[in-house]
Symmetry: C2
Subunit: 341 residues, 2 copies
């Protein structure tokens, strides 16, 4: 057991290979300007010793860590079981791996004013950050912009959007499209089960629904809020039905497929048929939409495109040292027609 905990060092590799540390280092990184003979000697020494470069020492001089942070808000623990988040986490991990980058998961605490988070980021543990779905009052965009750390938001931030790069999807436009599907189906009493108003997706989808209905000269008061979960969809649907009054409801746009699924359950419980009595359009298309009964007409959330693009923008920014100003890309969700509307 040597001083460094037993891990072999570049010096030992160089010695065993009979070359200098400089040559050993070059052979290990890319191998440009290294003779075949030296390369082989170093390769063998590396293998024999089981050598791996010390990350701290390396990044102290290269100013690269090979790691990228994914920042998610704490909010509540259900975040991880939310299908949207689960999918995104998986996609981020996979895409990062293709870029040979390591994922560091950072959970933003609402309490500590992001101090802890910023300290970590300032310490240069990571080369850049991806920020996923944050809440209305977050000032993360400003803080990250001040920091000068390359970062890309997934979902346009509420505050400071002009100072950072982001990818987003056209939530409002997609919601409007959902309403048009309902209208074309002859529906006139169209309600919505909206998401949390302090989240971008919740807010923008509600806005799209309202604007489109208003443009058609129809009532825009049939709103109930959920939190994207199935249970909340049941509650919201019940509230809507109870409050609808004489005219009733003949169409619903739910801001998530999970909430739409809850709505189906509540409608069934009351003996209402989908789509005959109430037509239903969901949002996300991450798997559940095809398994409900009836299968959901929905808007496909372009998560994969957003994640891939976000990471492309991020690596670009990392490689260029952050020049060129923040970039934006907005994807358009695709309508998927099934049986519910």
């Amino acid at each position: 057991m040597t001083l460094n905990g037993g891990a072999p060092t570049l010096d030992e590799v160089a010695k065993l290979a009979g070359v200098s540390k400089a040559t050993a280092s070059r052979a290990i990184n890319g191998g440009s300007k290294v003779s075949a003979r030296a390369q082989t000697a170093v390769d063998n020494a590396v293998r024999e010793l089981g050598y791996t470069p010390n990350a701290a020492a390396r990044s102290l001089v290269t100013r690269r860590t090979g790691s990228v942070a994914l920042i998610v808000p704490e909010s509540d623990e259900r975040i991880f079981s939310d299908p949207f988040f689960a999918r995104m986490l998986h996609l981020v991990a996979r895409t990062l791996r293709e870029h040979d980058l390591q994922l560091v998961l950072l959970i933003a605490q609402p309490g500590d004013e992001a101090e802890r988070l910023l300290r970590y980021l300032r310490g240069r543990y990571v080369d850049g950050a991806i920020v996923a779905s944050h809440h209305r009052e977050d000032r993360l965009a400003e803080h990250l912009s001040d920091l000068g750390l390359p970062c890309v938001f997934i979902g346009r931030p509420w505050i400071g959007a002009e100072r950072v790069a982001y990818v987003d999807s056209d939530n409002a436009g997609a919601a409007a499209q959902a309403v048009r599907v309902l209208l074309e189906g002859g529906r006139r009493r169209i309600a919505t089960i909206a998401g949390p108003p302090d989240m971008r997706a919740g807010h923008d989808r509600l806005r799209g629904w309202r604007d489109e209905l208003a443009a058609a000269g129809l009532e825009t008061g049939l709103v109930a809020h959920g939190d994207f979960t199935e249970d909340s969809g049941v509650q919201a649907c019940a509230a809507l039905l109870d409050a609808a009054g004489p005219g009733g409801i003949d169409g619903i746009f739910a801001a998530s497929d999970l909430m739409a699924q809850g709505a189906i359950r509540e409608l069934a419980r009351r003996g209402l048929r989908v789509p005959e009595d109430v037509a239903l359009v969901g949002y996300d298309d991450l798997g559940v939409a095809e398994r409900t009964d009836p299968p959901l007409t929905t808007l496909r959330n372009p998560i994969a495109s957003m994640v891939v693009e976000a990471i492309r923008l991020l690596t670009e920014s990392i490689d260029q040292g952050g020049g060129g100003g923040p970039r934006r890309v907005v994807f358009v969700p695709e309508l998927v027609r099934r049986a519910s509307a």
Copy 2:
């Protein structure tokens, strides 16, 4: 913009505070043996400059990174939406934070023979690792043991368990208890919806069910496998019912609440009542068990205890430099009686 990318350095702090780097360093870390005067001067300089120590430089000498890896198997992307995993991830993140440790999420690729993973770990990016639910053929325990990196497995590893520390829960014992509940309720034709046989929890719960039934002199052939999801529970339950033959089935032990929920759906579809016609015991108690209709009698998975204990063992091992041999702790799941059995 200075050479180091604009980030202030300890040298600048020291200069501004009018002290040496050594004193500045001491003031920043704990502050023992530092005069009140020097401490204040350094504190002010740190604040004025917005200084945060460079992580790489610091860990190069301290040999600590302040980060811990959570290693999860890739398997399939649904892993993140699995309630057990979501809960565990959340608990790990929270508990680590209490220890002032940062979570680095590592997703083990089945393809690359763990080479990539081991390279990362060997690079000393992290001080230790927590390994969550891995598959039968993984040789991770041996590899990590060879590495000498402090680590704790959550769930006893299939291979190399004698070489590493782990926490586990008594899955077999809990399954046996589930069977006893069914037996005490007068059930004699007891089936099981088992989990994946290549996962610890799946394997051990099946074993507990079988042993207890065998001890009672009853049939142990009524087995169908699922993957812990609700849909798979529906399928498995249907298969069981179809295959049961003349005697039928009057009790089911499902290895997850989600699969139990699927079973309830399938039983209802066939007009069978729970618990009157078929008594049902689930496993996990992570939320869904109280929301099914009827609410599930189940075994409470002691995830929180396991995570807390795993991190305690890990930090102990990190602090002691790995002396003392691997430790083990096994928790006993608690029976939660509700209406389904």
